[in-house]
């Protein structure tokens, strides 16, 4: 045993984590840089399937077995509360200073908090926003919309006065994307889905019902195509790219896609924070990826060194500049080198400041599935907005154990 320990201390420690194969390719450069600087630590990136939920299932299975082969969890922002609630992650709050945390987007930090502990270091961020056609707004003589009503007016005016078919496309299929759209709208009405501290459910309050009625109204008034209830990101983007629609709700990646040379709308688009009700604040649903550390890893110190490296300003800047991702550190949005490559990051920061996380509750997957079911039923006219939200709120309270 002693001999074994002695031999091991001579060996470099291997820190391993699982991630989608495409991302492993992208992160290989950073990993090699780290290993060159830290010869006593090896990073082993296990290449997983390219579907994020398949990766989540693989992590879940390995953690359920009790002795995870992964020292680090590379995680979508919405997995964190579940993994933290299950006790699979280390609390990182002692390892990181307040000063360093304050450099990250507040929503990115908030998304890693679970019952007072910090379980995630943000890596790359993501957030929803409104894209619009500058040429069309100019043509009809309107300013970019601020409120929900502005958006409806602008869309209907453009649809009436130009040859653009549709006003606004978004993501209406029954899947996680629908929930991210809804989170922005309910917050824009001043409401909330679940309060993470009190576990109060706000879906059946007036703002929740208003949010669903707004989404339904877009389809009823033919501002959004009827097929929007089957749209994911690509479908809504394709309509916008082809010049068929005036407004689009999407993630930052859509900017480069819509501006690709040869695209009909290239150079004619701009982005801004999501619209909201008069007197309320805009909201952007937070997505993105970050790192947690397994509570069963035999090498927490080395794992932390790896996480610290990946999330530190230098490597993060190299990474987001090379692969056109959105940083989780606020300073990088206004960094001259970053702005030289991505001039629109200045507006993107405006959006990023409005970001809100999805409720960090352990049962997130369950409450999201419930919301998806009832939202889909409501926007496809199988239920009224009020009935759908009442049912969704009731089931969510049961799952969260707060009988209302």
């Amino acid at each position: 045993m002693l001999v074994g320990a002695h031999v091991w201390s001579q060996q470099p420690v291997t820190i391993s984590f699982l991630l989608r194969a495409v991302e492993a390719d992208q992160m290989q450069g950073l990993a090699e840089q780290f290993m060159a600087e830290n010869p006593n630590i090896r990073i082993q990136m296990v290449r997983g399937p390219n579907a994020a939920d398949a990766v989540e299932n693989l992590y879940t299975t390995s953690f359920l077995l009790g002795d995870s082969p992964y020292d680090i969890l590379f995680s979508d922002v919405v997995w964190i509360p579940k993994f933290a609630a299950a006790g699979w992650l280390l609390d990182l709050s002692d390892r990181v200073s307040e000063a360093d945390l304050s450099d990250f987007l507040p929503a990115d930090v908030a998304a890693g908090l679970y019952q007072g502990g910090l379980y995630r270091m943000p890596f790359r961020s993501d957030m929803g926003m409104l894209y619009y056609r500058t040429d069309l707004l100019e043509q009809v003589g309107l300013a970019p919309p601020e409120t929900f009503d502005d958006l409806i007016t602008a869309a209907e005016t453009i649809q009436a006065q130009t040859d653009v078919d549709w006003g606004f496309t978004w993501q209406g299929l029954q899947y996680e994307g629908l929930v991210t759209n809804f989170v922005e709208i309910i917050a824009g009405y001043g409401g909330f889905w679940i309060d993470p501290t009190t576990l109060e459910v706000g879906l059946d309050q007036p703002a929740g019902v208003q949010a669903v009625e707004f989404m339904k109204g877009l389809i009823d008034r033919r501002i959004s195509p009827p097929g929007v209830t089957n749209y994911i990101e690509e479908d809504s983007l394709r309509q916008f790219q082809n010049g068929n629609v005036a407004f689009l709700r999407n993630w930052p990646y859509a900017w480069a896609e819509a501006n690709r040379p040869g695209t009909p709308v290239a150079g004619k688009i701009a982005l801004k924070p999501m619209v909201h009700a008069a007197g309320e604040q805009p909201a952007a649903c937070l997505g993105g990826w970050g790192f947690g550390i397994s509570s069963t890893t035999p090498h927490p110190e080395e794992a932390w060194r790896v996480v610290e490296f990946f999330t530190s300003p230098g490597p993060l800047k190299d990474f987001i500049t090379e692969f056109a991702y959105v940083p989780s550190r606020r300073a990088l949005f206004t960094d001259p080198d970053v702005l030289a490559t991505f001039p629109h990051y200045e507006q993107l920061l405006e959006v990023a400041e409005t970001a809100v996380p999805r409720p960090p509750v352990g049962q997130y997957a369950q409450v999201s599935d419930i919301l998806q079911r009832y939202l889909s039923a409501a926007i496809s006219d199988q239920m009224t907005a009020e009935a759908a939200m009442r049912a969704a709120a009731g089931e969510s309270r049961r799952v969260l154990g707060v009988e209302g």
Binding site: T60, A85, Q174, N230, Q363, A365, Q366, R398, G401
Partner: protein, 300 residues
């Protein structure tokens, strides 16, 4: 004198001893997980209890009664099972009757017939997902060339058509298996019976009704049992083709159990779902067994 009884008892004991390892394995592999799931279903063990089991009596079963998703998945499973069983038995019987006739290349035809069954389900499901793809699928392409539809149909995106699609895929895959099972039954029927029946003036249809069907009834029931158990637990085909969507329209009980355990980490509730599914299966199998033994008693 050593009695014959003694020898027999000794042989019996040796027999039991020899079977013991196999029985232990069976107990470990089958009985233990089922009993454990049954036991766990009386506990709440999920994220709200920090994954520790807390005794909660019949709470999980109470939740199930009010769980719309459970009933929807049960309904989907029943629809899927009924329709696949119906078509697979019907088509399987026709194919079996055809393969039972003497014709050139019969051996080859029988081999080809079993192919869909021999291919891995996940691969087949992937292929069907492409066939039913809205923009690039051959199925839409064929229908549009024949002018049967004007615009591409979103087969896997519409609740009704998605269910039709997964049923069609399962029928394609499993009919040959049903045909082979029924063919075995057909081949055990003596040709003399048909000759005698024909001499009595019976038409082929009468022979089929009065000889073929009654004599392969046990095979039909056993095939139904097999297929029922498999269809009721269907997971791979649907998981790959639709993932249970759109909007849970093709979500079966197995897929729901998987979500409850793997995604929600709700082990207690998952165990209750497993228990109920298991009991439904056992009830149906027991009823069929009763029916078979009655049938046997009648023929003997």
């Amino acid at each position: 004198m050593v009695s014959r009884d003694y020898i027999r008892r000794r042989e019996q004991r040796t027999g039991w001893l020899l079977m013991l390892p196999a029985l232990l394995v069976l107990l470990l592999v089958y009985a233990f997980p089922i009993l454990r799931a049954f036991w766990l279903s009386f506990f709440t063990e999920n994220l709200s209890t920090n994954l520790e089991p807390v005794f909660s009596g019949l709470d999980n079963y109470g939740l199930m009664v009010g769980d719309g998703r459970f009933w929807q998945s049960m309904r989907n499973t029943a629809v899927f099972t009924l329709f696949t069983l119906f078509f697979e038995l019907g088509l399987g019987l026709i194919i079996a009757l055809a393969l039972d006739q003497a014709f050139r290349g019969r051996g080859l035809a029988r081999t080809i017939a079993i192919l869909p069954w021999a291919l891995p389900t996940a691969l087949i499901a992937l292929a069907w997902r492409w066939i039913f793809n809205t923009e690039f699928g051959v199925w839409n392409d064929m229908l549009m060339r024949l002018h049967l539809i004007g615009n591409p149909v979103n087969w896997l995106g519409e609740p009704f058509w998605a269910m039709v699609a997964v049923i069609a895929a399962d029928v394609w895959k499993t009919t040959s298996f049903v045909a082979i099972l029924l063919l075995a039954g057909l081949q055990s029927i003596s040709q003399d019976l048909y000759e005698a029946h024909a001499l009595d003036g019976a038409s082929p249809w009468q022979s089929f009704r009065q000889i073929t069907l009654p004599l392969i009834a046990p095979q039909i029931v056993i095939t139904m049992l097999f297929r029922f158990a498999q269809s009721f637990g269907i997971f791979d085909l649907i998981q790959v083709m639709t993932g249970g969507g759109p909007g849970g329209a093709t979500e079966t009980v197995s897929i729901y159990i998987y979500a409850a355990v793997m995604r929600y980490l709700d082990f207690g509730y998952g165990a209750a779902l497993v228990t109920v599914t298991f009991l439904v299966l056992v009830a149906v199998v027991a009823l069929s067994w009763l029916y078979i033994s009655r049938l046997r008693a009648k023929t003997e």
